[in-house]
């Protein structure tokens, strides 16, 4: 069993990472005894598992994910939702609210209109059909105020932090509400518009520095500097 990279070394697709019976993590593939990288990113060996943390990634929906979507079309019994993924999602009328809606009597536009951002949960996805969403459970629903920004989905775990540690720091220090979508979209609302601006800057900084170490410690300092 041999490893051909140093921890967190930048690797390119096709690069030989290791030989032997390691477990396969994300973004690597095996041919016989050899394990190769599939994407440009940082190679890692942890708990006998080899993986590559990618520099860029597109969002592939997982059942249970919380996402922030943009309504792009209204059908007779559903809404089409852009979830920043190669696949457009569908929100069926029956999955939207706990109270039933009769689409023949009511105008779906009243509830969610084209151009509205919504917080939703992915309730079904397999590669043969479009992902299905639900907005029944909190915190799901229409976003009425605040700002929605987009960051690379690959950086979302870093933004949330271990057991939510990173995101809690931002929420506390800037007295704001934040919902992080697994699809790379983040909603921020602070009563103080200046703090909202700061929160946006901090999140972008975390996105830039996601691959560095000691980020959680530095974040408090970053916030303090931007607060002025």
């Amino acid at each position: 069993m041999t490893v051909y990279f140093s921890q967190r070394e930048m690797v390119v697709p096709g690069q030989l990472l290791a030989r032997g019976m390691y477990r396969l993590g994300d973004n690597v593939y095996r041919v016989g005894q050899n394990i190769y990288a599939m994407k440009l990113g940082l190679a890692e060996l942890k708990d006998n598992t080899i993986s590559v943390i990618p520099l860029k990634e597109c969002y592939m929906p997982n059942v249970g994910d919380l996402v922030i979507g943009l309504i792009i079309d209204i059908g007779i019994t559903n809404w089409s939702v852009d979830i920043a993924s190669p696949y457009t999602a569908l929100l069926q009328v029956n999955d939207a609210f706990s109270k039933p809606i009769d689409p023949l009597r009511e105008d779906l536009k009243k509830y969610f209109n084209v151009g509205d951002y919504i917080i939703a949960k992915v309730i079904a996805f397999d590669k043969t059909r479009d992902p299905l969403l639900s907005t029944k459970e909190p915190p799901c629903g229409k976003i009425e105020k605040g700002t929605v920004i987009e960051i690379s989905p690959a950086k979302i775990p870093r933004l949330i932090g271990k057991r939510g540690s990173m995101i809690s720091i931002i929420k506390r220090e800037l007295d704001c509400q934040i919902v992080v979508g697994q699809n790379g979209r983040v909603w921020i609302f602070a009563k103080d518009p200046f703090y909202e601006e700061v929160a946006i800057k901090v999140i972008r900084k975390i996105e830039e520095e996601a691959h560095t170490t000691g980020l959680t410690d530095r974040v408090r300092e970053i916030i303090r500097r931007l607060k002025g």
Binding site: V12, L16, C58
Partner: protein
């Protein structure tokens, strides 16, 4: 009436083995690769090889329109190779020529084996190659640049794809033909390889090779491929380090 013409040189390779632009038979031209130069594209690459100037954008995976073009079990790969009218000495019409259509196809087929298309059913991955200035070897340079752009886009790949052309001029087997050598030489063979997997994904030739010459040409191509692959890796790594430096 065209105002600038390149004259056919008396010799393509002189008695000291030096070519028209001062290179030896086994040298590639000056190669420069930059990653992530276009903001809208999911991945992009700008490449200079000698006087070639090529820019590539990758979009995808994304939805296919019209829907009936999509495949149920994998992504489709679409590729467009296009030269801008001012890329050559005699202005080229902006409309796609038969050559551009053929090159779009062989380039697509050179990149397809490297991509895990089955990861993204019912989508398309689009590759757009624009030649801003052409000086021989644009299809192989385009392939090398497209592979870098695909990696920049985070598209899962088995390997990068690296390409170069070898050929024959004045009886010598030469590496990386420029425009003049392409036009007036005796043979031209573009090759693309997945360097780690070790499989050839593009192979074309015109002109005549003896079996011996062919073997020599392949060896020379290997040397060229190694050099281009090193530059591809360097460029991709630099992209990451760029961000790291801004941080520190």
């Amino acid at each position: 009436m065209i105002i600038r013409k390149e004259e056919k040189p008396i010799k393509l390779v002189d008695e000291n083995g030096i070519r028209v632009d001062g290179r030896r038979v086994d040298e590639i031209r000056k190669l420069n690769i930059e990653v992530g130069v276009l903001k809208n594209a999911d991945g992009s690459c700008y490449l200079e090889l000698g006087r070639n100037r090529i820019i590539v954008a990758v979009y995808g995976p994304r939805e296919v329109h019209p829907r009936h073009l999509s495949l149920p079990d994998r992504a489709i790969l679409r590729c467009r190779y296009h030269m801008v009218p001012f890329s050559v000495l005699e202005r080229k019409s902006p409309n796609p020529t038969r050559r551009e259509i053929e090159l779009s196809k062989v380039i697509r087929e050179a990149l397809e084996p490297a991509i895990f298309l089955e990861n993204f059913p019912r989508t398309t991955i689009d590759i757009f190659i624009e030649v801003l200035q052409a000086d021989g070897g644009t299809r192989t340079a385009g392939i090398s640049a497209a592979a870098v752009a695909l990696a920049d886009a985070g598209i899962p790949m088995r390997d990068l794809v690296t390409a170069i052309a070898v050929g024959k001029a004045d009886g010598h087997i030469i590496l990386d033909l420029n425009d003049v050598e392409d036009k007036y030489g005796e043979a031209d063979m573009p090759i693309a390889i997945m360097p780690n997997v070790g499989k050839i994904t593009l192979l074309q030739a015109d002109g005549v090779f003896t079996p011996e010459e062919f073997k020599t040409a392949l060896n020379l191509a290997n040397k060229g491929i190694k050099e281009v692959y090193t530059k591809q890796k360097e460029a991709l790594r630099k992209r990451y380090l760029q961000i790291k430096e801004e941080v520190e």
